[in-house]
Subunit: 674 residues, 3 copies
Amino acid sequence: MTKSLAQLYPILFGGDYNPEQWPESTWEQDMTMLTKAGINSATINVFSWALLEPKENTYDFSMLDKIVNMLSEHHFKIVMATSTAALPAWMVKAYPDVTRVDTHGIRQGFGKRHNACPNSPNFQRLAKGLVTAIANRYGDNPAIVCWHISNEYGGQCYCENCAAAFRLWLKQRYTTIDALNTAWNSNFWSHTFHDFEEIVPPDQHTDEFETGGAVLGGESLDYRRFQSDSLLANFKLEKDLIRTVDPDTPITTNFMGTQKDLDYFKWAKALDVISWDNYPSFDTPASFTAMSHDLMYGLKQQPFMLMEQTPGSQNWQPYNSLKEPGELRMLSFQAMAHGANTVQFFQLRQSRNGCEEFHSAVISHVNSTETRIFKETAQIGADLKLLPADLLTSQKQSEVAIIFDWESYWGVDFSVGPNVRLNYVDQVHAYYQYFYQHNIAVDLISTDADLSSYKLVVAPLMFILKTGFADKVTDYVNQGGTFVTNAMSATVDEEDNVLLGGYLTALHDVLGLWVEEWDSLPPVNNCRIQFDNQTTAKADMLCDIIHLETATTIAAYHTDKFYNEYPAITANHYGQGRAFFAGTYLDQAGMAAFGQQLITAAGLTHPDDQNDGVELTSRYSNDYRYDFLINTTGQAKSYHYDPATTTAHELLTDQLIQTGDYQLAPYAVKIIRA
Amino acid sequence: MTKSLAQLYPILFGGDYNPEQWPESTWEQDMTMLTKAGINSATINVFSWALLEPKENTYDFSMLDKIVNMLSEHHFKIVMATSTAALPAWMVKAYPDVTRVDTHGIRQGFGKRHNACPNSPNFQRLAKGLVTAIANRYGDNPAIVCWHISNEYGGQCYCENCAAAFRLWLKQRYTTIDALNTAWNSNFWSHTFHDFEEIVPPDQHTDEFETGGAVLGGESLDYRRFQSDSLLANFKLEKDLIRTVDPDTPITTNFMGTQKDLDYFKWAKALDVISWDNYPSFDTPASFTAMSHDLMYGLKQQPFMLMEQTPGSQNWQPYNSLKEPGELRMLSFQAMAHGANTVQFFQLRQSRNGCEEFHSAVISHVNSTETRIFKETAQIGADLKLLPADLLTSQKQSEVAIIFDWESYWGVDFSVGPNVRLNYVDQVHAYYQYFYQHNIAVDLISTDADLSSYKLVVAPLMFILKTGFADKVTDYVNQGGTFVTNAMSATVDEEDNVLLGGYLTALHDVLGLWVEEWDSLPPVNNCRIQFDNQTTAKADMLCDIIHLETATTIAAYHTDKFYNEYPAITANHYGQGRAFFAGTYLDQAGMAAFGQQLITAAGLTHPDDQNDGVELTSRYSNDYRYDFLINTTGQAKSYHYDPATTTAHELLTDQLIQTGDYQLAPYAVKIIRA
Amino acid sequence: MTKSLAQLYPILFGGDYNPEQWPESTWEQDMTMLTKAGINSATINVFSWALLEPKENTYDFSMLDKIVNMLSEHHFKIVMATSTAALPAWMVKAYPDVTRVDTHGIRQGFGKRHNACPNSPNFQRLAKGLVTAIANRYGDNPAIVCWHISNEYGGQCYCENCAAAFRLWLKQRYTTIDALNTAWNSNFWSHTFHDFEEIVPPDQHTDEFETGGAVLGGESLDYRRFQSDSLLANFKLEKDLIRTVDPDTPITTNFMGTQKDLDYFKWAKALDVISWDNYPSFDTPASFTAMSHDLMYGLKQQPFMLMEQTPGSQNWQPYNSLKEPGELRMLSFQAMAHGANTVQFFQLRQSRNGCEEFHSAVISHVNSTETRIFKETAQIGADLKLLPADLLTSQKQSEVAIIFDWESYWGVDFSVGPNVRLNYVDQVHAYYQYFYQHNIAVDLISTDADLSSYKLVVAPLMFILKTGFADKVTDYVNQGGTFVTNAMSATVDEEDNVLLGGYLTALHDVLGLWVEEWDSLPPVNNCRIQFDNQTTAKADMLCDIIHLETATTIAAYHTDKFYNEYPAITANHYGQGRAFFAGTYLDQAGMAAFGQQLITAAGLTHPDDQNDGVELTSRYSNDYRYDFLINTTGQAKSYHYDPATTTAHELLTDQLIQTGDYQLAPYAVKIIRA
């Protein structure tokens, strides 16, 4: 049993720290400054392979020893990374197969990072050597509170080693080539395979299109699964080596929210704790950040580490706005509200050179504790000390679940048509945002999750219907649940084979309808939907032509095409529950009208009116409820808050809180224990 | 002598059918359903090479035999394809040279389709083997009414085999390297060749620019000719093999309208019958579809097969709008109006998987005869039975011809400058559209065509002046014809050498002018033209500076530049005829003003006023005129129709037709035999 | 000592001439026509390697001899090129390493031009052979007045030969690998190098990003320096060969204004005389053309050759507007006003074929002396004869200098962040344009230049602070100079290492401030600046957060963010001088308000009000001032001109000039000797 995040107290407050990029003479000053900000931990050794192993099988831990010793002496907890996320130059020179081959068939050279071929035997052997040496040297170091394997896994490789490994992976999945041909429907375009050896990775110079679609959806889905699995095997290889010498320190790797490449639900099972890097851009809505946190929480339905965030500006986005005063603090507590049990930064000292030199840090290029960012960081450090250990044991409670499914995400992207503007994550967010705006807690769950505890389950654009899911939904609704899905959901099986008999055929009974065809709209069009109460909204991208059976219409198309007045959104009673279906994609006006009906139908408790930027999110421990009241905006806001108890207490200001209208300064945060 | 399309009766009504992608247990149901819709034929075996030849030189016709037998038993006529349009995976593995090398010099791997290198000896040998086996097995099958070789030929390869074949092709064309150097003007940029062996294919990693231009226009034009010829040789190789065993069944391959890669006029000579695939997108004007049909008709000035169209939505366009009720029927009869003698679909049963799964079909994913698309298809099937065999013998009659020249199309694209917005097909369409909007029939003809039967001949953006063409035009006008051309026409010879002495020098006498230089306009500008009657219109992209000799001005520039009031459009009397020249490109307002003068000058008969979406197109048999009166729009229209006879008869409703105002429902079609 | 441009009289009036692309029978006519236009020189042999060396080590000068003889006989001066700018096909076939490898790692094939690998031993050996032969043959030819080596050097190669040469270059620069690691801060992302042999060229398939940024700024800057040096070595190799046989004829290569690839200040030292090619596009402001001339002048602070300009339209730009009547003459004299001592064209006869066929020439496709372009050229020829030899000895005098620094140009591009819209040249132009619009002469200078002669020195976006520069500026201001810089200047050292202690720390004293952080603005924002006089203007891209020490605010931010009313533009007294700092990028309104204060502060003499398109630019000989009064627009303008002497004389019209309001026709030019 590994240690849990709840046992980490004082709350981990730190971030990436790369003293090897600086003269040793500067290190002591760092310790002094960071301590002044309340920083109590450091993530180290993320990209030091070339330093640690200057030539093959020769290790040099002298600098890392110094860093570990210094941090220990200054009572910093250590998040120890394994340094396998960037390859040394000598390795690429000696073993060219350690880098990836890109989608055009071109082998990459030395450079950048995150580009090791996961199936390169040389990479695997050399990574094993390094991690064994690190684990042996530091495995029993009491300062290490977490292991951080590699960094931000992602991407694909299309080399010969991957091709060979893919064939083995396919043999395990399908056993026979006939089974594979059937699954992939590979008689299409003369793709019939007579031997596993004939199969090559689908990329842009073979079987995928420049625009992202795939000739055989099943093949490309399998390759994506295989590449996600291959990187996961890299992770597990390292984890197992560490676990051999360190039985109980949590092991993680840092995730990236809604990234596409990896099936994080599958990965989550292999991680002891989830950690992730939160990099909103200047135009990211607060609801999207909240959704990303909820997704990371949802991977294990457990608190997570906020492994990285920038204290000021990013640099790799097109326009890297700074964070306004209070914004970093707001974002840090928003993360905690949604389940973060740590507050960490990339990074503690700003790079002096290299492509991240304009990515801000706690200690900026000014090299002073008098900067705005430093002082704001120190404020958060002080705030965190006011929060009790009990908070770290608290969890989320949600009546609403939204399904997030990486395979559907991939499937929509590999699909050729029906509309180039279709984007999986946008559709998940469209539904999430509605609940967020009403301060209704939402769990992001996988298709494997138990639905029974939720009053409302939404499956937006769930393109792939996995085996057993239709039965699960049917049972769920039959027993009183409320289910919502929309256009193009449940269209294909796990190998991209369309389910015949009218779209959504597998949910035919529970939805009370079937879909015959759809229209795909260009961006400029005059198609609208109209609800019973005469509210109208935009119909976007697709319009399903729905045949009602037991379902009824709650909104109809308003268009100059033949499907004018045809059903656009429907509701159906099934067993003890109800099921809703949106045959088109909705703008915020449409979501508002639809969402109100969902709240009523599911009998959701305590929804706010439109929250106008003030988020109220709760965590629950065995003894307390912690309400995070957060002004996510740069404008002053008023909010009527009712703690529903007379003993509510704001933790950062140590004040009693009663029901009333609260004035919230820009980015203000209240953490109320009730 | 091969059989003609006119002998095909009942009218071929069918489409692509790929039962090998489905369990055999489903086939009988297909037969029942398709028969119910009046489908009487199927195009099969388009992409089955990997099934037919599971390993080299081992053929397995068991499934194809079953398909052929089933179709025969159910009285379906067969369009038999040769399956060479997609390569088996084993072949690419065994012989990597069978795939193409792209414009960056990268050899493609296994995948997609339409990507065999035309000059690969391995591909040629293996294709020969397959087609020989197919021809031997099915060559005398009476159900086969047409052979369909490969599929949608196109694209280029830049491999070593192509390079070697190109050198041979050049030796045949030029005999000596000096002649080649002269033709290509290759002393430019040190391109002088001393041996044919020095020549490499011009691509983006050699002699062509990313933006599409070419260093040596002649070289790139020749490579385009060579690649078109290479694919044509592939076609002929297969055709000859079939012809050996089947003396009289028509052999075709499916064309793609105004595609750029192949010189269809050259190809047409090798085809027994033209067939093509019509895929308008949501914003394709009816005039463009009509023009494409007329171009396909014009390739042989004979009726053609409408080999593919989708009964509902496409999937590979950005926005794949569905066809509204009646729209498919309208498009099918519009095709017939312009010369189609068949109505065929891609496809009869919708793909279950693969990149075409969201391309609609007669039997959709609903798998029912109750779908809108199925019922609309069945309606067309019923309609077709009402049309007489005599219709298939009918032909077009046009007073107007527009020249379509693939070499000019290429030449404009290879030209560096003068304006990036210049688009060959758009310019052809600009003129076509004017006549279409006045229901004036137009033939699309090649530069080789006899002009003498036309009252008016238009050569839009005919960049390349072919040998003999100037004389032909001069004779034509001298003898009373009316000729129209415009800016950048007749600028270069067949190897891209500019004709000196003022642009259009070769047409100097007939046009009565010469052009000294031109201005190239950015998209935002205030340049206009003004006609004698004060009508103004936009001048677009280029403004020729015209020197009048015998010509007169019919529109002048209106601009703040020095050429204000200079001639923009001119007319010239020459011999018994007239020649017009537009020194700029025209919008619809400009075409309207110019076109009215052309109609008058050429004395065209029966032009309509602006047709407002109601097309009237005629075909003529020995005994009858068939008028197709078509509302191409989704709005109800009124049209005054005069059959010019008292015995006119609407074939689909079996009603007598008299002169009068007819109300036409959206997409309504009347076929009147007069 | 080589001959100077001032000794060239009559003024060189000519251009590129490629008779080898034409039948010899046409050459005599060219001579007649060109002579008629006053053309007195020709640039020849630019792209004839394949003709001159038909196979390796076999030279054939027969055609070049004829060309040289003909030109000599007709009294044309010759600019003799060396023909190494385009490779013969046989060479690429025999030695594939002579072409470059692109940024994706793909070796280019035969074609195009300007694509020899500078470090290919084969290319170097073969170029040496050719140039030796040319020098030996023509080295003492009295008609040759200038040698023109290669053509428009630029671009990069990433091949193995370049990699090896780069390692040598780095060993010379850094001596030890440790020094290199320190300079590049290469512990970042595991980039530590243990041996020079581990280093590979940074390109998109190694260490640079598709979007242009670099992982290690120092590495990419060094590679850019190395490639610039490599091409310069190619130049020097050829120059030295020529100099062996020809002791005094000036040797040049044609530059391209503000191009990015080469550090022209470094190159300029190796050239005897600067020459350049001026190709404004339809929307290039007159100020940008003027700046480009001033930059080319500034390379050696000496007059230059206007080696190429098109007499009419370009062809390789998206929209190739023609030059209006008088515009070519205006541009030719604008060039002279800014230091050109020649007027040359690309080209004398328009290409008949190839990718430059629509690039206009003195003799156009009309092949006539009656064309507008020919006659306008002849007018310039006649005008030039009216200008005295003394003019060629005249030089510029400027009170204002703007620093142009190729390394900062590269550095901004290699930087990842902070704002994708940031463009080095645009920022230089923003400041230049202000002075231009007030007819204030500006020198473009390098960071090495002596500043002491200027009243005002501006360093826009001078990202890299070179060793010694801060001291030089400090001395300059201390002694009374006025210095201006702006956001992101002086941010890093020559290896991209950020200078710590607050941005602009090295200029802290002289500017009287330090910068803590910045905001990066998206294109749509409401951030403004407001000057003391209430004038407002846009704040663009970056907003520095400035801490004033001794500086004062002259404009403050006006924004809804926290830095509202914070200083945006500042002024500081330091020693005898002043230093200004703009913390954001300015639009023309902002420059107008800021510039007015700079003029006053620096006490600039004779500034005009906003010049409204009428440029007044002066050159100074020992005896005279030459005022070029130029209407750069297509509209008539009025201008009040005061020659400040009673003996002023307009040279083209031979008229006395007195103080007064002059009406200037569109593109009118007056050259007044005062």
